[in-house]
Subunit: 346 residues, 4 copies
């Protein structure tokens, strides 16, 4: 299977390049990059020297479609929609890592992003949260890979809402992300001296991913959930850890409630290779970094206040890893193909 990556030189793109190079079922056909077209990818990212030595192309849809069976678009929001319709017309399967096709509602998208040029495709796109939408994904030629925060949040919250274990009001997602989530672009915000030994909340009450989480919960549960979402910037490179607070909607509390939640997670996820439910400790970023895992734990106090911890690697399960997982689903390959490497503790 020939695969191409458009936007190969961003942080998500280059992570994809590494995963696909190591994937036993695919071959890297073409890498495209507007800013580095004509340059060897190993010049742009020298860690790839002797490993992936491919010249980056510009965005020529015909050339891409001749070379590829599957295309990953790791492009800025707004750019994906310029290119994807042409790729679909040429019968390619597209896995898009931008926000462009994540929403069902064009109106919501446009409120948080910008005008949309192909809203008709938004309804067709599968939302690529593999564990919860696999059937949809398998039958789709356009997969919208979820945002990183929504991945960590929805995998934790959706089973509990679906099983009426938590109240749909007053859900608080206090999320903390590493700097790679901000992308590779040079900006004062990502300057080492701004981030090191610093910590901050940002976009309080107004982060785009909040709308993505809300839309999905509403569609899936046919009921509005009230989410307070606060992202924070951690002085580290990769990983998202979300501390999620919710109120019990059942009569139990304390350990009994905790067991119910863990059982629900196990019912939903026990056969899923990338979901790990911790019963005896809380996940740490360290456990998931460099892997495609989403680790979950649950805590509950005697008043029925629930504290869930959800941890992922934002560049893998939150982006490139889940994209490969979706490719595996589309192609009917074992879910772990190309993603089954042990993370490193240190």
């Amino acid at each position: 299977m020939q695969v191409s990556v458009l936007g190969a030189t961003g942080y998500t793109g280059i992570e994809l390049v590494g995963l696909l190079r190591d994937h036993p079922r695919v071959e890297l056909a073409l890498l495209a990059s507007e800013s580095f077209s004509g340059e060897n990818i190993a010049e742009v990212y020298p860690h790839l020297k002797d490993i992936v030595e491919i010249e980056c192309q510009s965005f020529d849809v015909d050339r891409i479609s001749r070379a590829s069976d599957i295309v990953f678009t790791a492009l800025p929001h707004g750019v994906s929609q310029d290119i994807i319709p042409g790729l679909l017309e040429r019968d390619l399967t597209v896995i898009d890592l931008s926000g462009d096709y994540r929403y069902r509602s064009a109106e919501t998208y446009e409120r948080w992003y910008q005008p949309h040029k192909s809203p008709e495709l938004m309804e067709e796109a599968a939302y690529g949260l593999t564990e919860l939408r696999e059937e949809e994904i398998k039958n789709s030629r356009l997969i919208a890979n979820p945002g990183c925060y929504p991945t960590a949040s929805l995998l934790a919250v959706q089973p509990l809402l679906a099983e009426d274990l938590i109240e749909p009001e007053g859900i608080i997602i206090d999320a903390k992300s590493g700097v790679s989530g901000a992308g590779r672009g040079a900006s004062r915000i990502t300057h080492f001296c701004e981030v090191q030994e610093n910590f901050k909340a940002y976009s309080v009450g107004c982060h785009r991913h909040s709308s993505e989480i809300s839309e999905k919960l509403k569609i899936w549960n046919r009921e509005e959930a009230e989410i307070t979402f606060t992202p924070h910037l951690l002085p580290l490179k990769r990983g998202i850890l979300a501390t999620i607070y919710a109120d019990s909607a059942v009569r139990s509390a304390g350990d009994e409630l905790r067991e119910k939640i863990l059982k629900t997670y196990k019912d939903y996820y026990d056969h899923r290779p990338f979901m790990r439910i911790f019963a005896d400790r809380n996940p740490q970023l360290k456990y998931v970094t460099g892997t495609n895992f989403c680790d979950l734990s649950a805590n509950a106090d005697d008043e029925g206040r629930i504290v869930i911890i959800s941890a992922i690697d934002n560049l893998l399960k939150g982006a490139a890893g889940q994209a490969v997982q979706n490719m595996n689903a589309v192609c009917g390959w074992p879910e772990i193909t190309g993603l089954d490497k042990t993370g490193s503790y240190i």
Copy 2:
């Protein structure tokens, strides 16, 4: 004024030594350290070479009392109570940075710490949260410096509870601290390779400081507040940032509610030199590191969900800085004496 530091070689102790050395009204009389007695403090902490060259003493209460007017005890919990009664008998003023005299209730202390040897002094001790307890502090000979998390939390929550702006139920304090909060002792938890590029929650639902926060809120407001407190460990050296969630107890929401909260903060803190209320942005750790400030901001959504950000330097406002602020209060000196240095952005 002659001041001594017992436990001078811990992280809080050595921070105190620096502050007191630079303080224009006091002289460092004696440094005591069980582990390094007989050694020059500048051998233990070489950044003090040519600056503070004092030999550490063992804990000889008579010698300490002869040398000192004021004693800071930066000792482990449980050790403070062994020494402080003897210091008070010798008419010294004591500012204690351990947890030993922070509680009114010996029962609560003993549930979270250990048996208490001088519970009678617990009632006498002033709780050293300078901005809220100044009168008490001024008239006391034993000041219990607050815990670092309680400092950041209580300064943010108490004015809002006292003015009935927030509901006493469902208050969530999602707090993140730097590693220096764990002290200087070597342990696997503080190993660089465990912390760097990691992030985790710890003591979920069972951290001691939760009981300190709850006791103070109950005493001050004559009403139980229901607090969910989750501490996290940041991969950085110093600072605490708490993201605090609460529900509005008044009829307003959104910007109107936000203004009410800011006004309350200003009413409480406008004349206090170490409280800064941010109206147009949220505090970051960077703004307070190296200073005695507590920075606060408020956000509110249209459903009346409130998000407060509170940031302090855990070693200064959360420990050594507030201890000096309390000394200033006791001595009747201007509050900023010895604490008025500009922080560094980088």
Copy 3:
């Protein structure tokens, strides 16, 4: 092939466990750990949950020999020599990651380490610097995996000395290592607050690895080289970068000299999959982290002063990765087996 790891819970040990779990030709037979015997490795290192769930054993040589074909000993210096003779007697192949069998001279070992209990085996052991000693390694049942600093240093220096390109006097190795090189033991030196935002030289003029480098250069070139070796501690987890200074021993200088050095490196290493020679830029730690590469570059000024940069991941090429590379050599498998994964840039 059944492989066991003794000392599985140290940083080098756990890195080995991950590599061997992912290796297509071997099976993890037994993990031994004195401190954690009886515990599931995934309890000690939770990132292994659902991946490697094996109970750690104590050091029972008979049991180990029944279970294993090859044994990796990732034990403290001095402990390896207690166990390895028994393993060899039972016909196992041993790859030792301690310093115990790296030297030819027991006298030198004892000067830098401690008395040696099986000096006769020191002569038999192969020095496992794969690229330079492969024949020796292939025919040995005891392989002494090199120290991390010697790996980075010898791969850079030996070809230049052997080809008489540099003077044997006045070679300076200014080496910088991440904290994982100090191991997992809790100590003040590795406390996060000691390391973060700090940098220091240590063991100036007296680091053990200096003697390892010198012995090897002397044996291989039948001539003493005069090395000044200064290790430094970097505030990061993994990686060694050595900046090596030497004087030209040939008549050329500047670019001509540089080309000669690069050509020598290419002659020695062009067919070696884990050696990369950079002609147009200098290696960075980032390029090798998470991989088994040793990256080299050369610079030369008009006076014939040479600056070589050598970079490795201390836990992989400097320890566990090279150990697996040596296993591959011993077993006659392709050199890259189990080590051929793309590193991650971020």
Copy 4:
């Protein structure tokens, strides 16, 4: 005394603002910034809220000269020379932190920087390495503050060369700097994800500061010294540590040589408050961060190879701190005025 800072919003500028605000003998008269003119400095750097609330001005030389007695120019190379002649014409004392007036030779400057517009002033300017050029500085109206690397290097090397303790050939300066040395501008090089867990050499054999070091050594010793200078980028915010290698030019070696070097340093620096000579350990960055110290140590082996460690805070002794030290010299104030605060270990 009224002082102004031009280029107040760069990293060096803002460090100066903090120092001058805390300085007991001066008043901040005017802050100028091209990029932020019209904005309150506390909006640009919120850590200054309630501390320094001054509106940034544009570069109006008349206005600046009316407001100020002394002007600090913390401007990019090339921009300083546009403004400084006008300031001198208006009889101001100028302390320049750019490279524009550091050289005696316009030719050298132009080779490494750009064409110079006021070469006649280059001869007049005092080179602001306070400890070694104090007389010159006291009598000058234009002080060229040294580069950060030259400060750490020259303070270590010059006494040894002047006293003929080391050979002028084969001096190697292996220097490591924190990221703040690269300034505040957003670039890929300073992106957190590029720096964190990375380490690299840069500008090998071609860094500008090499020429600054060489020129000064040549002028001061009337003899060319041959310097190999290799700068490296550390994953930390502030500090420079240089490991300097040189050959003994005297008959002693080992401890005897070491004592000679230490004695020379003491002879030169014993009365200087910001020079600390460590006889029993090597300096670490941690000892100098946040202070104006330059810490030095010496090591020597039996072959007469010398290893000197020199550590400074690049933003203080390497920039803003030394600039204030120079102001104190010019004004005849005690050298430590405004710089006498204890650093923090953590």
